[in-house]
């Protein structure tokens, strides 16, 4: 009974945080819902093992980051498998992975945000995580370092490299954008 009450408290306090972070990674509500479900099932099963070495928020953030990255890896491996399988299945998988629609983005920014997210998705996992947690979740470097289980200096370095890479890749996109215009 006590565990159930605690779990409900946790769910209602962190459901927005978990769902939105998952959404930043996968960019569609169906997949984000699946990840959020997976995260809270893990929380439900492990809440009694939580040792409070970090805050519960940090713990749930960490689970969400790992679940999101695992989900993307799983989707990509399925995609690769189908590329060697039937052509029709491969196309379906490719479309489902390509389907991006972040409902939190303002209507006037949809096009540019889609471009930004497509470039963010090409970043290495650690750079992507550091960037998303800082830029979209608004977390400080100390908190990001705790979530990623690394040093603050490493987080700063990841963010600098992420921004540099994003600028370079967006620079290449700009040429395409100007040609279309």
């Amino acid at each position: 009974m006590q565990q159930s009450y605690t779990f409900n408290q946790i769910y209602f306090e962190y459901r927005l945080m978990v769902f939105n972070l998952a959404l930043h990674y996968v960019l569609n509500t169906e997949d984000a819902e699946e990840i959020a479900q997976d995260v809270f099932v893990k929380v439900y099963k492990n809440i009694h093992n939580f040792k409070e070495q970090s805050s519960i928020k940090t713990w749930i953030y960490r689970i969400t980051v790992n679940a999101s990255l695992d989900y993307i890896a799983y989707k990509n491996s399925k995609k690769r498998f189908f590329i060697f399988g039937k052509r029709e299945s491969a196309d379906k998988e490719y479309l489902s992975v390509k389907h991006t629609d972040h409902p939190g983005v303002l209507l006037e920014n949809k096009e540019t945000a889609a471009m930004l997210f497509s470039v963010i998705n090409t970043l290495p996992e650690t750079q992507r995580t550091a960037f998303l947690l800082s830029k979209l979740e608004g977390l400080g470097n100390a908190e990001i370092a705790e979530i990623m289980e690394t040093s603050i200096a490493a987080v700063e370095s990841l963010q600098v490299r992420a921004k540099k890479t994003l600028r370079e890749k967006l620079g290449e996109k700009f040429e395409e954008y100007r040609r279309k215009k």
């Binding site: 959020a36 099932v41 983005v105």
Partner: protein
């Protein structure tokens, strides 16, 4: 200049990003999945325990069967007592 402005515009396109609520059904789905996994884990544990008990029982049975066979002489052994000499012809 135009390029830099455009890059900054794209980088700032997530400004004003709204928080999105998960569907109402999420909590129900979480509880259902957790319950399903608990039942599956319990079934698996019972299946493993039953398999271990079966294998142990089988081993004990084979061991005692072999032991009993070694102690009881066969009918052939009783009918043909061991020859006292080594004369073949």
């Amino acid at each position: 200049m135009e390029k830099e402005e455009w890059i900054n515009e794209v980088l700032n396109s997530t400004r004003g990003l709204k928080k999105v609520s998960p569907p109402e059904s999420l909590l129900h789905n979480i509880r259902k999945q957790a319950e399903d996994e608990r039942v599956t884990e319990s079934k698996t544990a019972w299946l493993v325990a039953a398999s271990v008990i079966f294998i142990i029982a089988l081993n004990v049975r084979v061991y005692f069967k072999d032991d009993a066979q070694q102690q009881t002489p066969s009918v052939q052994e009783i009918d043909n007592p061991f020859s006292g000499n080594n004369q073949l012809y």
